[in-house]
């Protein structure tokens, strides 16, 4: 591994540009020659930050079971993602033998992702869906 000269102004400028492009707040690099810390200024951060994404909600498996997005026996084909869902709407089910545990949307919003294939065995805490809440 070639060591980079952390005191070289060109290297520092290159790293700063890379951080700005990536929208990263800062970086700290330690090496034998010392430590370099670059912290993007507040103005830079505001001007370059992407619009704040609405906090996505994860719907996790409340217990282990077989993941069934449509109810077994239902001929309904779920609409493509993303799709809007109502608060309390059953997004799918966990099947345990003949019993089905509905997986309800905690809030109204946009169902953006489904992380598990239909029919898969999931464990407690596995993330199943992601919702972007909408007011």
């Amino acid at each position: 591994m070639t060591s980079i000269d952390l005191t070289d102004p060109q290297t520092i400028a290159f790293l700063t540009d890379a951080l700005t492009t990536a929208g990263v707040d800062g970086v700290e690099i330690s090496g034998p020659s010392g430590t370099l810390r670059i912290i993007m200024s507040a103005e830079e951060k505001v001007s370059h930050a992407a619009p704040a994404p609405s906090p996505a909600l994860s719907i996790k498996a409340p217990m282990a079971g077989i993941f069934c997005p449509p109810r077994p026996g239902s001929s309904e084909v779920p609409a493509d993602l993303p799709r809007t869902v109502a608060a309390g709407q059953a997004l799918g089910f966990l099947r345990l033998g003949p019993v089905l545990l509905p997986l309800a949307a905690p809030k109204a919003g946009l169902l953006t992702r489904q992380f598990v294939e239909a029919g898969a065995l999931v464990g407690f805490g596995d993330t199943l869906f992601q919702i972007e809440p909408q007011s």
Binding site: P72, G73, A90, L101, P102
Partner: protein, 331 residues
């Protein structure tokens, strides 16, 4: 309490019936779809024979005047709670003041409202079912009327249903290999040859091979079928004899009658066959005008179906209890 705020005619309180009193002329009564009652009650943690509402004319609305957990079973349609669609075959929480509405099911005939704790009604001869013929049992011995108020039994000792509800895989899906489905939409009903089967030519071929239609003259007492009349080869005079739900009689006109939950206790028409007990619910869910065919069965097959249904219900009881306990522990 629940209060009935809208109902059609002939909606009643039912349970699994009042067997054992036919010798004194008391019909068995009980739900036309007893499987829906057993599953609904089992999922809630009730005794499987707890009293429920049998709804066969729609729309039907009731208001809860306290928090309650309910399930609408039997129906293929979605009930509404304060106007919001809910899953059928699924236990839900209702708050005091909320209104449950049942609309005409898309294909089936009857829906059951089961409530955790059961309907708190005094039993008569061991049953809470309404005997319409006798005018006793159920709620005041009569069909439900607007304004009726019915008490809910104590549900404090039952395991809590999770806030987002708890559903079952409905019997036609869970027991798809036990209850055959036809490709043309006719309901397949298994039956065993009965006492006077031998009076009908060619081993009853005309009865077994045709598709019957459930006529408008059908109700909880019996279903009159329409089709090509079947005639016995001999006219026989028979004494009245005991009759049970499922017995298929052939009156002089040749169009069969299937005795249902409110069957007379005795009759004198020749009996060509008897529906196996585990298939009676499929008849109970068949609407007037729908088509059906009888499938010749055996005692061994009837027993196997009964055992499969019993295993499924036991599985619902055990697994739903396990899920409720697990979620309570994780909460």
């Amino acid at each position: 309490m629940i209060e009935i705020i809208e109902t059609g005619p002939f909606n009643t309180v039912q349970d699994l019936g009042r067997p054992g009193y036919r010798d004194i002329g008391v019909s068995a009564s009980g739900a036309m779809d007893p499987l829906a009652v057993r599953i609904g009650n089992s999922l809630l943690g009730n005794d499987e024979g707890a009293a429920v509402l049998e709804i066969q004319t729609f729309p039907f609305c009731l208001r809860f005047d306290r928090r309650a957990v309910f399930i609408v079973s039997g129906s293929d349609g979605a009930p509404l709670l304060d106007g919001i669609e809910k899953l059928s075959w699924c236990a839900h929480h209702a708050e005091a003041g909320q209104v449950l509405e049942l609309r005409q099911p898309p294909k089936l005939a009857r829906a059951y409202v089961c409530i955790a704790g059961g309907l708190d009604i005094a039993p008569v001869m061991g049953s809470r079912s309404t005997s319409l013929r006798g005018g006793f049992g159920g709620h005041a011995g009569r069909p439900l009327q607007k304004g009726d108020r019915i008490a809910i039994g104590d549900d404090a000792s039952l395991l809590a249903v999770p806030p987002s509800g708890l559903a079952v895989v409905e019997p036609l899906v869970a027991l798809a290999d036990v209850f055959p489905q036809s490709t043309d939409g006719a309901v397949l009903v298994r039956a065993l040859p009965a006492g006077e089967h031998g009076l009908f030519a060619e081993d009853g071929a005309a009865f077994w091979n045709q598709t019957w239609r459930i006529s408008a003259r059908s109700d909880r007492t019996g279903y009159r079928l329409s089709g090509d009349p079947i005639m016995p080869t001999d006219v026989v005079e028979m004494r009245s004899h005991g009759v049970v739900p499922g017995v298929i009689q052939v009156p002089p006109g040749g169009e069969p009658i299937v005795q249902m939950s409110d069957a007379n206790t005795a009759g004198g028409y020749p009996k060509i066959a008897g529906v196996i007990e585990c298939d009676l619910w499929r008849l109970g869910q068949a609407r007037i005008g729908s088509r059906l065919r009888f499938v010749r069965s055996t005692h061994a097959q009837a027993r196997a179906v009964e055992q499969a249904v019993a295993r499924y219900i036991e599985d619902v009881k055990v697994t739903s209890g396990m899920v409720k306990r697990a979620l309570k522990a994780f909460a």
